[in-house]
């Protein structure tokens, strides 16, 4: 099981908003595929899946503000 955490985006930025999940809980995903889109004041980022498997326990919804290090979902 791999936890999907919000990695450090940039020094000075400690949070972002989730704008779009490219996959829903239960979807099979491959490592490196775009998983979730995040927005900061300056730019939009795509976070790739850190592992292959089934997406589970999605813990943040579109529109939520999340912090660096926060677990967003799990991949099993």
């Amino acid at each position: 099981m791999t936890e999907v955490k919000l990695p450090p985006i940039a020094e000075g930025i400690d949070k972002a908003s989730i704008s779009y999940w490219h996959h829903a809980a239960g979807d099979s995903i491959k490592e490196g595929e775009d998983l979730v889109e995040l927005v900061t004041d300056k730019a939009t980022f795509n976070l790739p899946a850190p592992a292959s498997g089934v997406l589970k326990d999605v813990a943040a919804a579109e529109g939520d503000e999340v912090k660096v290090g926060q677990v967003l979902a799990k991949i099993e």
Binding site: P8, I9, E11, T40, K42, A43, N46
Partner: protein, 292 residues
């Protein structure tokens, strides 16, 4: 004051690199207590650059004596102390990080008699002392146009001397309070006068309200000042109080600007939405000297 923002198009999107190597580099930077302009400007390319072992060190403190409308570096008191150990600490961090190419920039320090030129020169020499083959690029403030200050930095032996014009002439007074368009051009020209073989570099942000004619004329002005390397990137508002993005320039328009600048005679041009003055700096240098 917070400005309204226009909708961000699909091409203003970066992939977040979550490379383990980045945390090692971040740890070295954190331990050293050094500042990077990557962090101070909230640059979206940070993870990509750090994964390639590239960082741009911010000299002379983290408070600037000017307050450009596009910049998120804090504006501070005009008389903070110089950190005399900074050049050695930067050189030490460069050694630990194993960097081949280093970019040194700074806040503007109008409170210092030499504008901080002496610290630039010391830092270039300290880094070169670690390993002479390390390439060093400086990205300096305008030193109020002081010939002595400019000469001191050139004579310290940087491989690239950068000074950013940042925006077109028409928008200068609104975007760069305290700076002068002609003074920046004169600085670049004077660098070449001190040392004709010195590679020079400048950068323009687009999306602040300029039109293609403005840009064409700034590209020509920079070439006339002897500038060798040019980067053109999209202005992205770092904080809500900064100047608004007037327009997101589409990628194909950047391609046209690149062609325009290459036709004007620049040795190397990098243009694109996420291009910043220090982005892919080593590649730009190598291309300009003909090694790639």
């Amino acid at each position: 004051m917070a400005y309204a923002q226009i909708e961000r198009p699909a091409w203003i999107k970066k992939r977040l690199v979550a490379d383990k190597a980045i945390s090692g580099i971040r740890a070295i930077l954190a331990e050293s207590g050094l500042k990077t302009v990557c962090g101070a400007s909230l640059c979206p390319n940070q993870n990509e650059c750090l994964s390639k072992g590239q960082a741009t060190f911010l000299l002379l403190g983290d408070a600037c004596t000017r307050s450009c409308g596009f910049c998120s570096v804090k504006n501070g008191p005009t008389a903070h102390e110089l950190d005399v150990e900074e050049p050695d600490r930067i050189a030490d961090a460069v050694g630990k990080m194993g960097l081949r190419y280093v970019v040194l920039t700074s806040v503007t320090r109008d409170d210092l008699a030499d504008g901080g030129a002496g610290e630039f020169a010391k830092t270039v020499r300290c880094v070169k002392r670690i390993r002479p083959e390390i390439k060093v690029e400086v990205l300096t403030p305008d030193f109020k146009g002081s010939p002595d200050a400019i000469r001191a930095v050139v004579e310290s032996g940087p491989d690239v001397f950068g000074h950013n014009i940042e925006t077109v002439k028409r928008l200068y007074s609104a975007a760069r309070r305290g700076s002068k368009y002609r003074r920046s051009l004169k600085l670049l020209k004077y660098v070449k006068k001190v040392k004709g073989s010195q590679l020079t570099k400048s950068s323009i942000m687009v999306g602040l309200g300029e039109d293609p004619r403005d840009l064409s004329s700034t590209i020509r002005d920079l070439k006339d000042a002897g500038c060798d390397i040019l980067t053109i990137g999209q202005y992205l508002r770092p904080l809500q109080d900064n100047l608004p993005v007037r327009r997101y320039v589409p990628p194909e328009e950047f391609d046209r600007y690149k062609e325009m600048a290459l036709s004007a005679g620049f040795k190397h041009v990098l243009a694109g939405p996420f291009v910043r003055s220090s982005y892919l700096a080593e590649e730009a240098y190598l291309a300009a000297v003909g090694e790639v």
